[in-house]
């Protein structure tokens, strides 16, 4: 094979969306099966590599499975990363390093110090900066040949189809159920492969959804769990390395789709267990009754907050008896006045070990119902957790059990640290 060299790097034009009728650069029909070339360009012409690029990608070029043509496919390709967080960080870094010509990043968040335990796109100096700014700096350093498309917005039903249609492959690194179903449906509707990854605590999942013949996310999980049943990583924790494992799997799958090599995770669910260091794959089938890719009754995006029960849960909260709150300052004042009340901490013991409010009694949320007999309904009770969510549920349990003098500590121990006692560590 003769290297096609250009004297200078040529900016990669935004690839036009691939269609099943696209023709591959070698003149043959594009492969239409699940492992087809996701990175082919509509005009069928692959961009040349500069001398610097040839050197930079030399370890790819000498792999027969990649080679010059494969590297040019990568340069012609565009990948959208939804989320520049735990999964998006390693995925973006490796896709940029691998020479994917255009990376799209959707994120509206700013870098927080608690992100840095796992979100390796961002550094300590970036705290407080928009994640897209920090990602742009880092990725430009990793590979200045990569063109970055920034979408500093929340992905919504109003913008998802427009954004996703601009890219060849989508990498789902979101952190909530509504956006996962949104990404999935938008990928099915636009015909873009959805390289899925999801993590919680020590375990992860990965697959490739929404290809021509493969299953989609709805085939795996027809409906999301009700709000509050599955804790988020912020509530339940996540091993910092785990998104490194799963996000790198996602980047690998995206590159394989672009190159059209190997066996993709289409039709397979990869389960990653970091504690056992066990990887296993299970068979995934397209559900003939799937409204997105089976019956195709889903012809447009829907309201994903409603689909995930979030609006209904909020409405139920409004209808339910009010949960009365006290601010940390008000509770501190009650204490200094010598008011007689119980302070209950409904977090977990390992959280209590990190930080506690002096005098609080630990009753983890899961055991509140069992501990009711140890509480005096005639005394005032203030309940707290980390930021106020779990304690609100505990207040509800106490109210339902006939306790009427119960208050939730607004903002939990985190706000207590801000407003009353900075010696209490935040976590």
């Amino acid at each position: 094979m003769t290297a096609t060299l250009s004297p200078t790097a040529i900016p990669v034009p935004l690839p036009t969306p691939a269609s099943p009728q696209d023709v591959t650069p070698n003149g043959g029909r594009s492969v239409s099966d699940n492992r087809g070339d996701a990175g082919r360009r509509g005009d069928g012409v692959l961009p040349p590599l500069s001398r610097e690029e040839v050197l930079r990608y030399s370890r790819h070029l000498i792999l027969p499975e990649v080679g010059l043509e494969g590297q040019r496919k990568l340069k012609a390709a565009s990948v959208l990363l939804v989320g520049a967080g735990g999964l998006g960080s390693p995925a973006a870094l490796y896709l940029a390093a691998a020479g994917v010509g255009t990376l799209g990043l959707v994120d509206f968040d700013v870098v927080d110090v608690t992100n840095l335990q796992r979100q390796i796109l961002h550094g300590t100096r970036d705290i407080g900066r928009p994640k897209l700014d920090s990602a742009a700096d880092r990725l430009a350093d990793v590979n200045p040949h990569v063109r970055l498309e920034r979408f500093e917005t929340r992905l919504t039903a109003a913008n998802a189809l427009d954004i996703i249609a601009q890219f060849d492959v989508v990498v789902d690194g979101t952190d909530n159920f509504p956006t996962r179903y949104l990404v999935n449906d938008a990928c099915v509707l636009t015909g873009r492969p959805n390289v899925y990854g999801s993590i919680f605590r020590f375990e992860g999942q990965a697959s490739v959804f929404a290809t021509a013949d493969g299953p989609c996310y709805r085939c795996l999980f027809r409906e999301p769990p009700p709000p509050g049943l599955v804790p988020s990583c912020a509530e339940g924790g996540v091993l910092g390395l785990l998104p490194g494992l799963v996000g790198t799997v996602q980047a690998t799958e995206a590159v394989k789709l672009i190159l059209g090599i190997g066996e993709s995770l289409v039709g397979r669910l990869l389960l990653v267990d970091a504690l056992r260091m066990q990887f296993r794959t299970l068979t995934l089938r397209r559900d003939p009754e799937c409204p997105a890719c089976g019956t195709h009754e889903l012809t447009a995006l829907v309201d994903y907050e409603e689909f995930c029960g979030i609006r209904q849960a909020a409405a139920a909260d409004i209808a339910a008896p009010t949960i009365r709150e006290l601010t940390p300052r008000e509770v501190a004042d009650k204490r200094s006045r010598g008011d007689d009340f119980d302070l209950i901490d409904v977090r977990e013991p390992h959280e209590y070990a990190i930080a506690r409010i002096e005098g609080a009694r630990l009753i983890p949320l899961a055991t509140v119902s069992e501990a009711l007999s140890t509480l005096d309904p005639n005394r005032e009770i203030v309940v707290h957790c980390k930021v106020g969510g779990r304690s609100a549920r505990a207040v509800r349990i106490l109210q339902d059990a006939g306790f009427h003098r119960v208050w939730n500590l607004a903002g939990g121990i985190t706000r207590w640290s801000d407003d009353v006692d900075p010696e209490v560590p935040k976590y």
Binding site: E203, L220, P225, C233, L275, L282
Partner: protein, 91 residues
């Protein structure tokens, strides 16, 4: 030899810390019911009030999604392995 059910870490604490639990029965539903009796706090995470699987928890019987293999009515044999895969959304 009984049927083993492999749980995700997050549910293991409801099964006295066990990642794999064993149950008996002729169908998958029987086995899940048996395990729910052994570990009562696990029950509401495995099945709904009517004893059916949730749409956000997928069961695999010997690496096959049970929804395409008879659901909870699927016949099980000694030595079969069931894997419980819950929906998680972290990223």
């Amino acid at each position: 030899m009984p049927i083993t059910i492999t749980l995700p870490n997050v549910l293991a604490r409801l099964a006295d810390g066990h990642r794999t639990v064993e149950g008996a029965g002729d169908t998958l539903g029987d086995v899940v019911a048996d395990v729910s009796i052994q570990f009562p706090s696990l029950r509401s995470r495995l099945v709904d009030d009517a004893g059916n699987p949730y749409p956000f928890v997928t069961y695999y019987l010997n690496d096959e999604d049970i929804r395409f293999a008879g659901g909870f009515g699927a016949t099980v044999r000694d030595g079969d392995e069931v894997i419980v895969v819950p929906a998680v959304a972290g990223g």
